[in-house]
């Protein structure tokens, strides 16, 4: 005949808390393993386009050394365009591209203006991009 041992209540609670902790840990590690891998960012490009999608201006910058952009980070990039030409420049949309150490594009942020904006000669405009993996 099987005899069941009745555990004291304190020990029961402890066992329940431990098993709940282990379950939570397992779930967390599953979530972590599903997280996207970090990007190794070394530079960024700004691409300005007119309303026909034609590229009107582009430039690349380096980030002062490569760094890892992982899931628990947010990244903001600000690029300034100054119109040094003698004509107004029309901009309807822009893209900021994150590039790796090999110069390849890792990720893009894009935005479009409802109506094109016009940057007069000598004027500047800052374009920004935000990322969160």
């Amino acid at each position: 005949m099987e005899k069941q041992i009745e555990l004291p209540r304190g020990i029961k609670d402890l066992v329940a808390a431990l098993s709940s902790f282990i379950r939570r840990k397992r779930t967390d590690s599953n979530v972590e393993s599903q997280a996207p891998p970090a990007l190794r960012v070394a530079g960024y490009n700004l691409v300005l386009m007119d309303r026909e999608g034609q590229v009107v201006w582009t430039r690349e910058w380096d980030t002062g050394g490569a760094f890892d952009f992982g899931p628990r980070y947010s990244l903001s990039v600000f690029c300034r365009f100054t119109n040094h030409s003698k004509q107004e420049v029309e901009i309807a949309e822009y893209e900021i591209e994150l590039t790796g150490e090999d110069g390849l594009v890792l990720n893009r942020f894009g935005d479009a203006f409802g109506d094109s904006i016009f940057v007069p000669p000598g004027q500047s405009k800052v374009f920004s991009g935000q990322w969160k993996l």
Partner: protein, 151 residues
Amino acid sequence: MARELILMWRFKMKLVKSNGNDYAFGLLGKGVSVMGDIRFEDKLQVEGKVVGKVASEKGTLIIEEGGRVEAQIDVGVCIIRGSLEGNINARSRIEIHKTSRVRGDMTTPVLLVEEGAVFNGSVGMGQEAAARLPEVTESKDSEERLKVKGA
């Protein structure tokens, strides 16, 4: 006492610099306090305390966890894991990691912030970064291209 500390720091700087190549790496270790202006070339790691100004044209300032800086900072890259009170101008990048406590305004083209970091201040794009753009009409720089309709 302060003089001794500065001398110790200089000695440590020298020690770290003599690594066989031209890469100048400075370490301001735990328990060391410096008051005044600091200029460095390539890399400065702060684990102690700095009060004053920190400047470098292209160099990287790293404020390690436990490090405390109360200064105006003007550098190429600033990586923060410790505590900072003061404004930062970084020409290339600022990283604020989860152990950071930052109070001050930042100007930088690239800002990386880790969840859990505490930051109290504003972020903008500095004039230095803007000045990196050459004259388009006269530029021979292949990185930059301007196409103006009808031009």
